[in-house]
Symmetry: C2
């Protein structure tokens, strides 16, 4: 079927099967200099004369020569590449990955690109899939790990890698013993609660969890308590039920709050997905937002812009977050650890708090 084709020339061409590649030697011949001069000229080594540099560049262009990065990396030991791992829920449909992570991924790639590094991206979830030996395989100089806090197995794997001295930074880890970056949850919560107070709301309930693996939920709840107390107001926690989709958690918590008889005129939900469920439940109960009750979430999901009323929120600056992760990793690679850990946040005032 083609493979037993024995036309003459087949075997003697065996070595020719690999397509011919233009090398720095070809460029050297074309430019009439040595191969080492080609390498220096193309790398921009200032030691080569301008005339030679131009001649070499022109020859390279004529031959459509490009440096074989594998050879360069083998020689220098540097990759110029950062690995990015996005941890998913095991078996999760990729479409259900929190879109924030897609955005963060994009901003990491962009930030790395601005700093002259490429990004080697992978989505990982289960054991057979986990692979973080980037430095050992000389595929990258370090790793940025982002993704769902809930995949403990994956985080445990990367925690071990971090423990062995690899260059690694992360966003979303359930533990604090890997170098992490997170939203400035205290500041974001302060912005949200102060905003509600400025709008005249006083009986502000917080839909949250004290026991969630999501550290940011805990941080936001604690900051909420502090803000309320600082303002002389009474905090009120409405806990979420475990193991449900976020919007369903929001619906149920809102139902529980309404049925509790507890007075409230505003709700601070620790994430927008929960807040969207809360809003639906408020509609179902004919609670008018923002007239009767104000509502604010956290995360700045796009979906919040399109609901009625649109959802006020606090948004992590994921572009800053991407830069911070990249800078932190590059600093670590350079041996001068960078202490930045918090990504800035900003308030998004939308309809659900505009009374």
């Amino acid at each position: 079927m083609g493979s037993n084709d024995t036309k003459s020339g087949e075997s003697q061409v065996a070595r020719t099967i690999r397509p011919y590649r233009v090398t720095s030697f070809d460029v050297a011949a074309e430019a009439g200099v040595s191969q080492s001069t080609v390498s220096r000229a193309l790398a921009g080594d200032p030691v080569v004369s301008e005339a030679t540099r131009l001649r070499v560049a022109e020859a390279a262009r004529r031959l459509n020569y490009h440096v074989d990065e594998n050879a360069a990396r083998l020689r220098t030991g540097k990759t110029g590449t950062l690995a990015v791992v996005l941890i998913c829920r095991p078996g999760e449909n990729r479409k259900d990955v929190n879109p924030f992570y897609f955005s963060l991924l994009g901003s990491i790639c962009a930030a790395a690109s601005n700093r002259g590094h490429e990004t080697l991206v992978s989505f990982q979830d289960t054991t057979e899939n986990l692979s973080g030996m980037y430095q050992e395989q000389r595929k990258a100089d370090g790793v940025i790990v982002i993704g769902t806090t809930e995949n403990r197995e994956a985080w445990a794997y990367f925690q071990e890698i971090a423990g062995s001295g690899a260059n690694i930074v992360c966003w979303g880890a359930p533990w604090d013993d890997l170098p992490w970056v997170r939203s400035d949850n205290a500041e974001g919560t302060r912005l949200a609660v102060r905003h509600l107070i400025d709008k005249g709301y006083r009986q502000i309930a917080c839909i949250a969890s004290e026991t969630s693996p999501q550290r940011q939920f805990k941080e936001r709840y604690e900051a909420y308590v502090t803000c309320m107390e600082d303002a002389g107001l009474q905090p009120h926690l409405v806990p979420i039920e475990k193991g449900l989709p976020r919007d369903e958690q929001g619906r149920r918590a809102m139902a529980a709050l309404a049925q509790s008889g507890q007075a409230f005129d505003a709700v601070f939900a620790v994430c927008d997905e929960i807040a969207l469920g809360v809003l639906e439940e408020m509609h179902a109960r004919a609670i008018r937002v923002p007239q009767d009750v104000g509502l604010i979430g956290f995360d700045g999901l796009r979906a919040g812009a399109h609901v009625t009323p649109s959802l006020s929120s606090v948004e992590p600056d994921f572009q800053a977050a991407g830069s911070i992760l990249v800078e932190k990793l590059l600093a670590m690679i350079g041996g001068k650890p960078d202490e930045t850990r918090r990504a800035p946040v900003r308030l998004i005032e939308r309809g659900s708090t505009q009374r």
Copy 2:
């Protein structure tokens, strides 16, 4: 300042600055075999005896040895890597990248991973940024280019690369002379229009553009005309204004339709962002959806799930799309072109058509 530090040992240690790396020679010594046997054993070459293979694997584990991929690739000429380029609008804030592209990016990475390939991702927009010489630099075996149709400069660049014989497939190109994959727009439109008809709508207007650089808009509009005519109904085009944000295009088109005096009981918008603007304008005009007028979009944006009423739509299966792109590229790399060009779509029935 540290660099003029002349403590003894400094210069003789110069070669030691590069951290020691465990090589296949070390594993060979540890396992008591030759280096070539180590290479074969770890590559799973069936020619090595099981006993030897185990001994080598154990030695490698003890020494925490991992193959230097740069050396392997230099030798084999294969990268096992696919490049993915996401083209953005020049100067665009990354957050405004259509979330569909983030999802598609994710599914491409996942599909590549399933096929044993890593992905080298970059976001590109302007000239100083454009870089697609992946095969020449031996960084990847081929490129998948996705992103906004509107960045003509970037597409022209990749079109040229495609013309020079590189392995490249794309989603979103404004021209048809690079190997492309797109949604099955004809089928998706048929699903949308048939659905409206099934729900009893008859006077179905289409908000679209015949001249947009977005080829899918044109394809959807043409399919709409065909479907309407096949059903014995009168097509009615409401053109969008150029150069505006999509939602604003939707608002204006809807306003124009309402003011035109043309009778209508449903609207098919060629994308969800436009449909969301249409919906807002309908609310502003107290047009009840879906009772008075039905509305359906295209693209299946998440935001559509949260508006009131939720927006019916047609969704490209972006996971299938990612697989198709990867398979098409791998087929091209393998020299056996694959003719698949259309990603499957499915109808999402939501509130805006449920009367």
